[in-house]
């Protein structure tokens, strides 16, 4: 790395609309906007569009639900920029400058409007042994299966919460795993009531039934959760409880997670209002910041079907005064209702707050135990004294857990919103302080 200075001049892309995130919501937004003739850029960290839910092996065919959308995206005229993380968003007189890192190079995107489709991540609640190799996220397991990892013959328990456990259980069973148990922490009565309520959205009911059929030989239990994982160098067994008795299972893999939490860091950086952990939007998906819209899980956990509708609403109205179609609004209203009921049913139970002990690791990046942070008055104090949440993941795993455990409020978000090369953070558009719209793209075929 020594030697003479090499400057990395940023690539510049000008667009009417920049969509951040290429999951279902982002794809639907990009497609709807591009099909109206707008110049659309859609960027994502993944190497293929699809996000977490539609992730597929690079080069392999997408799933049947995803394929039509991915084909439509390719034909829409929207420019897809993969392998890209957003570092900073700076408001400008004419719109926004988005600074991103793409293939280790700076990329500056000038856009009049932004659609945030930043998705969600899993909530992990720390317990003894959760950092052992063999303990993985439920969503992370799904991603591993999709990327071709083998679970054949492995003894697996899925323990956590939420509807995501069903498709992962089905995939594990298909992948030849010895799925011992699927343990849902929510109470049986609540889950039963929720399942009964699914008649209002038959598509979801049918989907759930289809998943269940694929792992019929494994048991599914409610009101049960993991209290500890055991093993020396890797996971060997787990302790489960239903609140009255505890028992152990010998396992090779534990998949755990307590539902999804919206990714709101970029929204907070821009100054969007956050309500109950999600980006607050109106019925046209507009945030409180002019020219910034948000769709999908980042605006509240609701699943891919809802994300697609929200994306269509945002893409069909962005940059115009047109009202969204009544049909889209009605479908959204129905799905939002179901999503709200789901969040209530699968909310982590009180007992989970006592899972970590004083010596349980809460921050894996900086190796900080729960006991070290428990006495702090606020997140910032704990961060400064113990460095909890100060590692390269920027607290994305431990801070939501500590928010759940200790009711801490999130600290401020500052650039870089994702770790970024110094060359990217320092990059500047040469000789151009305030470019105006429309700009012509200076990017060659590299991103096409």
């Amino acid at each position: 790395m020594t030697g003479l200075r090499v400057d990395f001049y940023p690539e510049i892309v000008a667009a009417d609309v920049a969509v951040i995130g290429a999951g279902p919501g982002g794809i639907a937004a990009a497609v709807s906007a591009a099909e109206r003739g707008l110049r659309v850029v859609v960027m994502d960290r993944g190497l293929e569009p699809g996000g977490q839910i539609w992730r597929h092996k690079a080069g392999a065919a997408a799933t049947p639900e995803a394929q039509p959308w991915i084909t439509r995206l390719a034909a829409s005229g929207a420019r897809t920029i993969n392998g890209t993380s957003v570092v900073d968003v700076r408001p400008d007189a004419d719109g926004f400058e988005i600074i991103a890192e793409s293939a280790s190079r700076p990329l500056h995107i000038w856009a009049a409007d932004i659609i945030l489709a930043t998705g969600a991540r899993e909530l992990f609640i720390p317990f003894d042994g959760w950092t052992l190799p063999g303990v993985m996220g439920i969503g992370g397991t799904q991603a591993l299966i999709k990327s071709g990892a083998s679970f054949a013959g492995k003894r697996v328990v899925i323990a956590g919460s939420g509807p995501l456990m069903l498709p992962v259980a089905a995939s594990l069973a298909d992948a030849g795993a010895n799925l011992l148990l699927v343990a849902e922490q929510a109470r049986r009565a609540a889950v039963a009531q929720f399942a009964t309520g699914l008649w209002r959205t038959p598509s979801l009911l049918l989907q759930a039934a289809k998943y269940r059929v694929r792992f019929l030989t494994s048991s599914y239990t409610t009101g049960t959760w993991v209290t500890a994982a055991h093993g020396v160098d890797r996971l060997e067994s787990i302790t489960l409880t239903d609140g009255r008795r505890t028992w152990r299972h010998d396992v090779d893999v534990l998949c755990t997670g307590y539902g999804l939490i919206p990714n709101v860091e970029i929204a907070r950086l821009i100054g969007c209002e956050i309500r109950e952990g999600a980006i607050a939007v109106d019925n046209r998906q507009r945030t409180n910041v002019d020219h910034v819209l948000a769709v999908g899980e980042a605006t509240g956990i609701g699943g891919a079907p809802l994300s697609l509708i929200e994306g269509a609403i945002a893409g069909s109205t962005v940059g115009s005064v047109e009202a969204p179609s009544g049909h889209l609004l009605r479908r959204r209203a129905a799905l939002v209702g179901a999503a709200g009921r789901m969040l209530d049913v699968f909310a982590p139970r009180e007992e989970l707050r006592s899972l970590p002990h004083a010596d349980t690791i809460v921050c894996r990046c900086e190796d900080v135990s729960f006991g070290a942070v428990q006495g702090a008055a606020c997140a910032r104090q704990a961060k400064l004294y113990t460095r909890v949440g100060m590692g390269p993941c920027q607290g994305r795993t431990c801070m939501p857990a500590l928010d759940f455990l200790l009711a801490w409020q999130a600290d401020s978000v500052r650039p870089p919103v994702e770790p970024a090369l110094v060359s990217v953070l320092s990059s500047e558009v040469a000789g151009e302080a305030t470019p105006s719209f429309p700009l012509t793209s200076s990017v060659g075929e590299a991103y096409q």
């Binding site: 003479l4 500052r414 770790p419 110094v422």
Partner: protein
């Protein structure tokens, strides 16, 4: 506090913490008040560079004295203050700066501070990631680095061990003669120490202290990327001149293997938001000296407010307008280094002991003497 305190220290930043520690050690009953928590303000935003600085003879006297106190104290402090005796390299870009390096070496020698001049070759060997073509450097091996918030906390804990009491989340509304007001509560005492750093003037009208904003960037872990605190010789100019805006190359290896990249100075009031333009300028300056930083990963930026005075010296001593009031504030970018000297000086003045260095250049009375001149 069941008993009336002898001294109330307002502000549990590193300067207030040090005052409290020294006073408690001298047998005074001390009450420490902080509007937030110990070490959470400017202290937390600082680099934690313990440095002998020679902008003026008084500054060098205070930094050298404080450096000696740090060396003595560090063995008794907990490991989480992350002390690293890494030394400082003052990097010269050209022959003119090399002349200044030699001058600096002579000045340090007069104060008994060890320092050696490095040739370009020696500099390249010491810090291979610096760009070729630099003219040399001054190495000051006695300088070091600490993690400021935990150092402030450690000083507060030492004060507590000597009977002091800490009240966090307590905002002082006013300072009166031998008393402080917290809401409706009136705390009377023998002396009050205003150690509120950049905010000191909010409680004591007439203090010439303004916030001078700074930015820092921290990277992921790159152990061994550099070995000394690296500062361009032009830093002194950046710090000394009260320009609206300036940047200087200033890179520090943390005990964690992380790199701390600074520095910037701005006079923009209390706007704490990250100024992207100045971060770019600051990083640009860093890349001029260390091109390899381009491929390190930055994980966080933040800002802080240095308490700046017009003559670049802190205000340490009695404030004659208010009986019983003492000032320990205005340390600009040297508060971490000079905290220990300041605390000892304040304690010596209060208990009537003879200070180890001449307190006259720091006397707040000089503000009155120059009033109307500015």
């Amino acid at each position: 506090m069941s008993q009336r305190p002898d001294a109330v220290v307002i502000g549990a930043g590193i300067v207030g913490a040090s005052c409290a520690e020294a006073l408690a050690r001298a047998g005074r009953r001390v009450l420490i008040l902080d509007s937030s928590f110990a070490g959470g303000g400017t202290t937390a935003a600082g680099m934690g560079h313990l440095v002998a600085m020679d902008d003026s003879p008084a500054q060098l006297a205070l930094t050298a004295y404080s450096g000696k106190l740090w060396t003595e104290l560090v063995p008794d402090l907990p490991g989480n203050i992350e002390y690293e005796p890494c030394g400082t390299l003052w990097v010269a870009e050209d022959e003119e700066q090399l002349v200044a390096v030699r001058e600096k070496q002579r000045t340090y020698a007069e104060f008994g501070i060890e320092a050696e001049t490095l040739s370009p070759t020696q500099l390249a060997e010491a810090e291979p990631h610096l760009r070729p073509g630099l003219s040399g450097a001054l190495r000051v091996p006695g300088d070091g680095v600490i993690y400021p918030p935990n150092a402030a906390l450690a000083l507060v804990q030492r004060a507590i061990a000597n009977g002091a009491q800490l009240r966090e989340g307590t905002r002082v509304d006013a300072i009166g003669p031998r008393e402080v007001l917290v809401g409706r509560e009136r705390i009377s005492c023998d002396c009050v120490i205003n150690a509120c750093g950049a905010e000191a003037a909010q409680l004591t009208t007439g203090l010439p202290i303004v916030p001078r904003k700074g930015h820092l960037v921290i990277t992921d872990r790159y152990p061994g990327f550099c070995h000394h605190q690296l500062v361009e010789l032009g830093y002194l100019t950046s710090a000394h001149t009260m320009n609206a805006e300036s940047v200087a190359f200033n890179v520090q290896p943390r005990a964690t293997g992380q790199l701390l990249i600074g520095s910037s100075r701005e006079l923009v009031g209390w706007d704490g938001t990250v100024n992207r333009a100045i971060v770019r300028r600051m990083l640009d300056r860093a890349l001029d000296f260390m091109p390899g930083l381009a491929l390190t990963s930055a994980i966080r930026t933040w800002t802080g407010f240095r308490p700046a005075t017009p003559d670049k010296l802190p205000l340490i001593g009695a404030w004659e307008d208010t009986p019983g009031l003492w000032i320990a504030a205005g340390h600009e970018g040297l508060g971490i280094t000079t905290s220990l000297g300041t605390g000892q000086l304040i304690a010596d003045l209060i208990v009537g002991a003879t200070p180890a260095i001449d307190p006259a250049p720091f006397a707040p009375a000089r503000v009155h003497a120059t009033a109307g001149v500015s």
